[in-house]
Symmetry: C2
Subunit: 207 residues, 2 copies
DNA sequence: AAGTTTACCATACAAATGTATGGTATTTTA
DNA sequence: TAAAATACCATACATTTGTATGGTAAACTT
């Protein structure tokens, strides 16, 4: 049996994954048809049948929205990590995803938050370590003492944020690193978002 | 308007959250009715109407499974923390939930897993700290080097697991703590589960 | 050249689904 | 004590949904 997907089948699978990740629920046939402009559900039906035949999804017959995505591990869907962010010295942030993190299929990432993998050890006294995944919300105003992700000359850092009179100070918790002081008018400085959580999977830690 | 939930309404909300987290999709009215033993969907219908009236969910009319949970931030779902577990000296584990944690939906949380809050600093070299939430999966076999939760005489510890010839060694990463050595026939020793993830919220860290 | 796969369409239908309406009994609130 | 909310039940109905069947046209195997 041929296992490769056609262009359209791949687009539909992408849509299924995207819906499941962003909306939390798989779409109905009608919703898929609407999205792709099909005039009836039978067309979608055949694409799904092809996807199931090739082993990418499993359908629970008769139940609505019961499309299981069986690529890889059933539990996890790779999510892009948008870049690496330095806790010590700045690292470049990549325009495209540089890596993927295994997130559960059940996971629902809000559209406005994203993930970054931390490199470096300057935040070790804030208990964030190299390899950890930080959850970044770009739609929050930073308050003093919060940990933020900031862009400095095309590089990104994750540090604790302090607003002074005419400058902003980004401090590491690790005394080995000096605080970064930014004048408010510094052109290429931008707060990317607030770190709202840290997540670390233990999978790879076994010896 | 009264905002408090009745016992049954709370149970139904819990079920909605649980289904969304574990299955990824909210249930249909029929599925809820089946779970609670109701003979028809109209009963569920009224409970959902009450939940919506009190502002805990939002329904997208006419669409199947279109139940949005609107409690607090949609990003975080409250999950019970079953007890506290010692990374240093053993602590008692509580039979009922002692607290709830707003766990991000991105965190891996299989249905059979549960949460424990860590106290103590014996695992600080494994980057787990007092106050962190560990996600524990009780249905995995421990491998050498993995971090496990174990029960010793009605108290629980979280330590790194090493299986030797005739004994099991539970070691701290912190050199201040001596390893615990357990004979395989020790009666009240039991592995509770494997730590599959660590989560820490940043909310409270702002100064 | 013939067969298969792909990519759409249309129509039809049973089951699932959400919803409306009305009923009964108990508990809570005013 | 009366009114309102709660917690179930039953029946009914229009849509939604998944699915089956059959058709057309193009692209790609063999």
């Amino acid at each position: 049996m041929k296992k490769e997907l056609t262009q359209i089948q791949k687009k539909i699978l992408d849509f299924l994954i995207d819906q499941k990740v962003s909306k939390g629920i798989p779409p109905t046939l009608a919703e898929i048809a609407l999205h792709f402009g099909y005039k009836n559900r039978a067309t979608v039906q055949q694409h799904l049948r092809a996807l199931e035949k090739k082993g990418f999804i499993r359908k629970n017959p008769k139940l609505s929205r019961a499309i299981e995505i069986t690529v890889e591990d059933k539990f996890f869907i790779p999510r892009p990590v948008l870049g690496e962010v330095a806790a010590g010295n700045p690292l470049t942030i990549y325009p495209d995803a540089i890596d993927t993190v295994e997130l559960p299929t059940i996971a629902r990432m809000p559209k406005d938050s994203f993930l970054l993998r931390v490199k470096g050890d300057s935040l070790k006294d804030a208990y964030i370590f190299s390899g950890d995944i930080v959850i970044v919300n770009p739609n929050l105003e930073p308050k003093n003492g919060q940990i933020v992700v900031a862009i400095l000359d095309d590089a990104a850092v994750v540090k604790r944020f302090y607003k002074k009179k005419n400058e902003i100070e980004l401090v590491s918790e690790n005394p080995d690193y000096k605080p970064i002081v930014i004048d408010k008018k510094y052109p290429s400085f931008k707060i990317v978002g607030i770190v709202v959580g840290v997540y670390r999977s233990m999978d790879k830690k076994a010896v």
